[in-house]
Symmetry: C2
Subunit: 769 residues, 2 copies
């Protein structure tokens, strides 16, 4: 499939202009730096279809909750990252005719290229007007990953067959809308604005939340690389500021406009400093100039790639897609601010409101753990630690003890309102605890438990202890009325995954309790006093662990997804008519619910998380049972199945499942890339390769590998940052090569054999067939 | 409890003005005639708190559906009976000061009285202005139950201590709002209006549905009963028409305004005839005059009471409440139009949109069967018959065969959108079939089955046959993913009531199939051909009946509400802290769902419906188990429990449960009477007395009685219309007296003994202790 973009190792290329798919390309061509992001919108005016999107990290708006029938405990609002000021804007008129790709007589040689290696967007085309004037345009832009506040645009205009007068009007437009606002509300109020000569700024503030942001911009122009003097006219409108100038350009001359933008919000500076800071950052950037800014930005990307690249030989589509995923993940989250997290669409669209889901802990954390210094992943844990009080309030609202982390959140408060999700998809709590376990296991940062982790573990354990239900008849603890990861079942009893992870959560808390007691007694006493933990409480947790009930299909020796799952008609996905897929677009909800079909990894999610507890035969039995019943209608599903398939030796199946997410956005599989990219599932694709194909695990605190190579690939390689070491792993048809680029000696395991890895002394191991 | 209204045998009395509870009294004082209804609003201007409400039967508006997350199969709209033109309006100014109870210096001797015996509302008070002018007001109004289009008002004004000029402005105001419209929309467009002298009319049309209605009104005035000439000024505004006049009134003179109103909708006449018809009805009414109109109206009520009154001696509060319930039921539905049905709030408020629920079949039908000629109840059945095609479309939407009747509807289309209700509360289908069974059993109108009933039975059976799920492991049919009558459980498997009623539905269909085959062969062949019924289909139904799965609690020999009910923590309502009740206002939804607490009769609803199938010991075991777990947070619940309690000899419990609904609205138990009255549950109260205390049943096609009398009552009596006979049953501490007021000889059973009842030859039977 090669429908949208040309295959290329480092670039995402739109060749020829596709106005009908413009939103898809806008999503694909998004740029971001963790602090802000923009979709691949055009700078010049465009009257065709477009989803204008510009987002400022951490700035959210509490939109009114829309619901049919209100239930007690629903949140009052649904937080979303609102669309913000369009700072790209650069209106162009040539001889008083607006430059607009939608109104051109012809558009020649159109290209939009996202360069992932160096992190910029390039667009070039020749536009032919009704009166046959031809103009060549080239635009390059980037959002700096060195200076978080800065974006820069270089916009070149070359009249090919005429002399003309060109009017250029750079602007900042804050009068934007959100397509999915619940009540067509606009979310920003104007605070201040200025426009003087080639400088402008605009300060807006979100309604209710009062997140104030200043956008400042300056520009200059060259003709054939010589700076020209310009005479500007300021334009001020509601939430809009611009500065316009006219310039005569001769045939074949190149007029280039450099536009610099700084974006500063009161998430980082006091309101009264915002304009000053925005001006300061802007001046620094414009003094540096476009080329120098770009070079430092490019070098930063170079470093990123040196630490996190995955190289695939023999499959250019796979190569392109994995780099695209790594690129987008790095654009979305940088770990610099513990108040930020990873929205399902990152900075590439409005859907899901930019909020945090359990995706972060379950899918994204392993990526950041392995491709960046550990402090980046730690920030994700601190994010949840900082929300602990809110999570306790959330549990109290439901009449329960301890902490229930929200399903969807911006600031720690729950902001989702389907009862079957909000109130019942409680397994998310265990994912928060699992992330702590995962982080500590990976980094050996054991003291994190004393600093942050234990409190979260205790409060989530308290939640489980109050949420379970002791069944006197069966002498078992049960968890009733839940929704598991498979959201195609609602309000079920004893979801195996939830019961398993709840019990695991309690176990791990007790383990950490014992560890702190033995190794960090001072912290132990401080924390047990602070949290008021008694022996009786620990005993109660142990009793729950000992008597937890797990549904099981006896005749098949398979974990049963929930009580009564086997009462359903047992059908296979392969028996479904093509026309009825995806089920969520073709079946009514009740039909989905009472069918045996599974949306996403549920029992298998448990096998993945608690990988070390289950032998291969168990994994195989469960995979064989559940895989044919799974429709993978969540982008988060195939990666988990792929990883398990790889582990149990179903290599072709693993590759087939990997393909289902790898190019999800690039090939617009689900026909929804126009809404934005599936950022969090991109981390799953990364896991499919590193965990799935590479067989990467941490076993008994040791890094282990157990790789295979997909048939169509000739080789692949990936990097792992592990405990202050950088490992480079290359796999081809014959050999596995493991090299440590820096760091101290490390014992590792490959295919159950032990090796001592020393810096720059590569291991060569024969591939297992 | 005597908080809101004075106890009185025939009247509902508000003594003294209660502006803070005005909405409660407005609900209680509602008037209606099955074709229209109004709340107890004031005629004169009132700036205090009020819920203005005026409704035209059968006129509905498809309001946009509001929902958080859309699910496939949801209806596009939610139909509601919109608030319509306020035709009561009569602005009064005295010496240019608006008469407004909310602005008076003092209100003396205020009374608002609903007279149920004669069907009118009376209001009287003396209003004292800031400058000490005292004015006595008396208003009487009624909505004719003889002429469905007519309402009349007599408004008297008497200056007690001054001479003055009084401005009177009768109006029709169609610029009304709906408090619970989803998007603050207004639902009516203006078509036409006129105002000439003492006559005016206003024609509006609902948006989208184009239900056009004309309100016409005329008025005249007397001073001390002598007609006076008046000079009027017409006033025309948007959706508003009025006619104002001034008149000088001397101290102690009585100015009386008679306002007549006709209301005619295009549900009955062509659009181009509406005004003409409205004028015709209006002229007829005003020619007749207020007193004559009232007398014919009063006589019609007299007849109603002679056929349906329940008299209770020794408990005036009980007497008042049962008459209030009978009165409101008769005001709501008259059976004249098969397109109409019974909204949960009748014509007394906006909530629930005036739509039809299964309440009609489950609770209301027995009332109308017993208190009115059988054609009235038959109309309720024809209503559903006429919606059969829509119900088939509804089933098809969910991927199922046959017909699924909607949970909430106006015209046969589903218009509710909580998935757990709309898609899963499918037991409603059996209630539609049960109503047919009930009607035929009661009336012996067997041919109804050939005319209407069988088609409904077949299509509902087909629905069940496609909705069940054959479980190969257990060789049983199951019904998964349902919500039973107890809506405090959602998406459960094998709700005992649903499985039981589904199987019963199939059985009854086969029974009727056999009956038609034997007794009505021509109809049988016509219908089996039309419906394309095969022997295989009947065999399949029989197989489902034979192998239906019923959850059961073995150790207690009790029907289990659903699979897994016994896995819940088994608590009793008596153990709940007072402050946590009602649960639906204090607990989050998930907590309610995973608790064992029951909202309303579920297993017991089945015991009530299929009363003849279960012996007393079974009923007792199930009552003993479920009653302590039931919170009765539906107004429809206690009546069923009360009836079963009566049957199994728990007479005090039966009375206690009866009290929970009997004065629900009069005493505003649930603190929601302000929204309107609980019309459908009023029928349940009637059943509590006739079925519960009276022990009325039809057994082997025979009318049977098995009465007891609550301790605090000295006697009670009720009427039953049964197969063209009118029976009057009186019960005191010693005796049961059964008299047939008209009709042919009837065999009846009292306490298992048989009697032949002859007209006006009362039976006297000793009460069983």
């Amino acid at each position: 499939m090669n429908k949208y973009v040309k295959h290329h190792e480092w670039e995402i290329i739109e060749e020829g202009f596709h106005p009908n798919d413009n939103r898809v390309y806008e999503s694909l061509m998004s740029l971001g730096n963790g602090s802000m992001g923009i979709r691949g919108n055009f700078e010049e005016d465009y009257s065709g279809d477009s989803l204008q999107g510009s987002y400022v990290a951490g700035v959210y708006y509490p939109d009114k909750t829309r619901v049919g029938w209100w239930k007690n405990g629903y949140p009052e609002y649904f937080a979303k990252v609102p669309n913000a000021t369009n700072f790209l804007g650069l209106s162009i008129k040539i001889n008083d005719e607006i430059l607009d790709l939608s109104k051109a007589k012809e558009v020649k040689a159109f290209k939009r290229i996202l360069n992932m290696k160096e992190g910029y967007l390039l667009r070039s085309f020749t536009i032919v007007s009704e009166d046959e004037r031809e103009t060549e345009i080239e635009v390059k832009r980037f959002i700096s990953i060195v200076s978080n506040e800065i974006a820069a645009i270089k916009y070149s205009i070359k009249p090919l067959n005429y002399h003309g007068e060109i009017t250029v009007c750079p602007y900042l437009d804050g009068d934007v809308k959100n397509e999915d606002s619940n009540y067509d509300e606009k979310f920003w109020n104007e605070i201040d604005k200025h426009s003087t000569q080639s400088f402008m700024d605009l300060t807006l503030e979100t309604k209710k939340t009062a997140f104030r942001t200043t956008w400042a911009s300056s520009f200059n122009a060259t003709i054939n690389n010589n700076f020209v003097n310009i005479d500007t006219d300021p334009i001020l409108k509601d939430k809009y500021v611009a500065s316009s100038f006219k310039i005569k350009v001769s045939k074949m001359d190149t007029l280039t406009i450099y536009k610099y933008i700084s974006v500063v919000s009161n998430r980082y500076y006091d309101n009264n400093l915002l304009e000053e800071k925005a001006h300061e950052f802007l001046k620094e950037a414009s003094d540096k100039g476009f080329e120098d800014l770009f070079q430092e930005h490019r070098r930063a990307w170079e470093k990123h790639w040196s630490e996190s690249d995955i190289e695939i030989k023999g499959d250019i589509a796979a190569q392109q897609s994995i780099r695209f995923n790594i690129f987008q993940l790095n654009q979305t989250y940088t770990g610099e601010d513990p108040r930020l997290n990873i929205g399902p669409k990152g900075f590439t669209g409005e859907k899901y409101g930019g909020s945090t889901y359990w995706d972060t802990e379950a899918y994204c954390l392993p990526f950041y753990l392995s491709t960046a210094p550990s402090k980046i992943a730690k920030q994700l844990l601190i994010y949840r630690y900082n929300h602990l009080e809110k999570a306790k309030e959330n549990a109290a609202k439901l009449g329960l003890r301890g902490a229930l982390y929200p399903m969807v959140t911006m600031n720690g408060e729950e902001c989702h309102n389907e009862w079957e999700i909000t109130f019942e998809e409680i397994h998310r709590n265990a994912a928060i605890s699992y992330a702590i376990y995962n982080y500590v296991k990976y980094t050996e940062d054991e003291y994190h438990l004393a600093e942050y982790g234990f409190e979260v573990l205790v409060e989530t354990s308290r939640f489980w202890a109050s949420r379970v239900n002791y069944n006197t008849y069966k002498d078992k603890y049960m968890i009733l009325g839940v929704t598991g990861p498979n959201e195609y079942e609602n309000n079920v009893n004893n979801n195996w995954y939830t019961n398993t992870m709840a019990s695991w959560n309690l176990e791990y808390t007790i383990e950490v309790y014992t560890l702190l007691k033995e190794k960090y007694p001072a912290d132990f006493y401080r924390l047990t006093a602070k949290l008021n933990i008694s022996k009786e409480e620990i005993e109660k947790w142990q009793d729950i662990i000992d008597k937890m009930y797990y549904p099981h299909i006896e005749e098949l020796d398979v974990f049963q997804q929930q009580d009564g799952y086997m009462d359903k008609e047992q059908l296979m996905v392969r028996d479904l008519p093509e026309a009825e897929l995806p089920l969520n677009q073709n079946w009514s909800w009740d039909r989905i619910l009472r069918s045996c079909f599974i949306k996403q990894a549920d029992v298998l999610q448990g096998l993945f998380f608690l990988n070390h507890r289950f032998d291969l035969a168990t994994k195989k039995r469960n995979f064989d049972f559940y895989e044919p019943r799974t429709v993978h209608e969540s982008s988060l599903s195939p990666c988990i199945y792929s990883i398990i398939a790889g582990e149990i030796g179903y290599h072709e199946k693993a590759y087939e499942l990997y393909l289902r997410t790898a190019r999800l956005d690039l090939d617009n599989y689900n026909n929804d890339t126009e809404d934005g990219l599936h950022i969090t599932s991109m981390a799953g694709t990364w896991m499919s390769i590193v965990y799935g194909f590479g067989g990467f695990r941490i076993k008994d605190s040791k890094l282990t590998l157990s790789p295979f190579i997909p048939k169509t690939w000739s080789s692949y390689s990936f990097k792992i940052m592990f405990r202050k070491r950088l490992l480079s792993i290359s796999i081809d048809k014959e050999n596995i090569r493991v090299n440590m680029e820096y760091g101290e000696e490390l014992p590792i395991e490959v295919y159950d054999a032990y090796y001592d890895l020393k810096v720059n002394s590569p291991l060569n191991i024969i591939m297992k067939r």
